[in-house]
Symmetry: C2
Subunit: 162 residues, 2 copies
DNA sequence: TAATAGGGTTGCATTTTAAAACCAGATTCA
DNA sequence: TGAATCTGGTTTTAAAATGCAACCCTATTA
């Protein structure tokens, strides 16, 4: 049967994954962040099937992660550019990259060394922080009672949790 | 044909997505962070097909995101618990949730209000930061020349980029 | 002894995916 | 003028992945 979709899920993670949670979409967004804008470039860099790329680009445009711009250069030529919504995926993509570098390092590759354009210094590890900027783990947080997002037992209120 | 896998991709984002980049895996991890540990609970909370859940749990265990523990309670009973590698997905899950809340808010739902267990204060937005903790956008960073991760034109060196 | 719970596996129909071939408008080349 | 090329797709076909339901086995409870 068809893959399940989460358009109307009450869970915002599910709704997010519905837009960028498949095998290709985040890689398309990643390459868009690297500067790729054209169909053929995405296709060659990603090695993705053309029909799948069509589908993903259209879906990302539908979801306003990308916008399709006719730049009218050399005949029919379009560019796919990140919207603000798309650029807002930056922390997610970087966190994924750091996680991959940490837990599945490629033997023949130094991890990505991303630097601040102004100072030239290496960026921080992406982390969840408290109001003061101190790092928090999953065990350091809770969902206050009454928050509708806690419907599916978000807080660790079960006997075995903790 | 088969879906493409990225096990040996030189891109750490692709390798990360290979482990948790499908429709269900990150939702399983999310619920594990909420405290879910047992097969039937995952199945009921997620509404996932049992064979698919089997496959995903096994894959996550293979990839050491979860570990399977025989707690020998009430006969055959196992628990799936997050490993350190799995807990390390916390920033990614939270960033996804914040992105979903921001760009696809559910009309009938207040966004997740996650709080610091110690102070009770709301957590920060997950962001990419420079060495001093100041937020950075995708336009504020670059990949230094010579970094092997820049092979696929990570730095914006093309004529049209910028 | 039967019913039930936990944790799966198996079969089968439906979708998705990948690969390659094909298509159509615009442009450059000869 | 006409052929080749570039760009951005659509179509076709076969292999996987998915969802659903039914089945299986162990252990516990009624």
């Amino acid at each position: 049967m068809a893959r399940k979709r989460f358009d109307d899920s009450s869970c915002s993670v599910a709704r997010a994954l519905n837009e960028v949670g498949d095998w290709w979409s985040l890689l398309v967004v990643l390459h868009a962040m690297y500067g790729t804008r054209r169909f053929v470039d995405f296709q060659q860099e990603l090695g993705i099937a053309r029909n799948i790329l069509c589908d993903r680009l259209a879906r990302l445009v539908d979801n306003e992660v990308l916008k399709k711009v006719d730049v009218g250069e050399h005949g029919s030529r379009f560019e796919y550019r990140l919207t603000e919504k798309g650029r807002d995926l930056f922390p997610i993509v970087i966190a994924l990259r750091q996680w991959g570098d940490k837990w599945n390092p490629a033997p023949d590759q130094t991890p990505l060394d991303l630097r601040d354009r102004e100072t030239g210094r290496t960026i921080r590890q992406v982390e969840v922080q408290d109001a003061d900027g101190h790092p928090l783990t999953v065990r350091d947080v809770f969902v206050p009672e009454g928050n509708s997002a806690s419907e599916h037992k978000a807080s660790e209120s079960k006997k075995k949790a903790g």
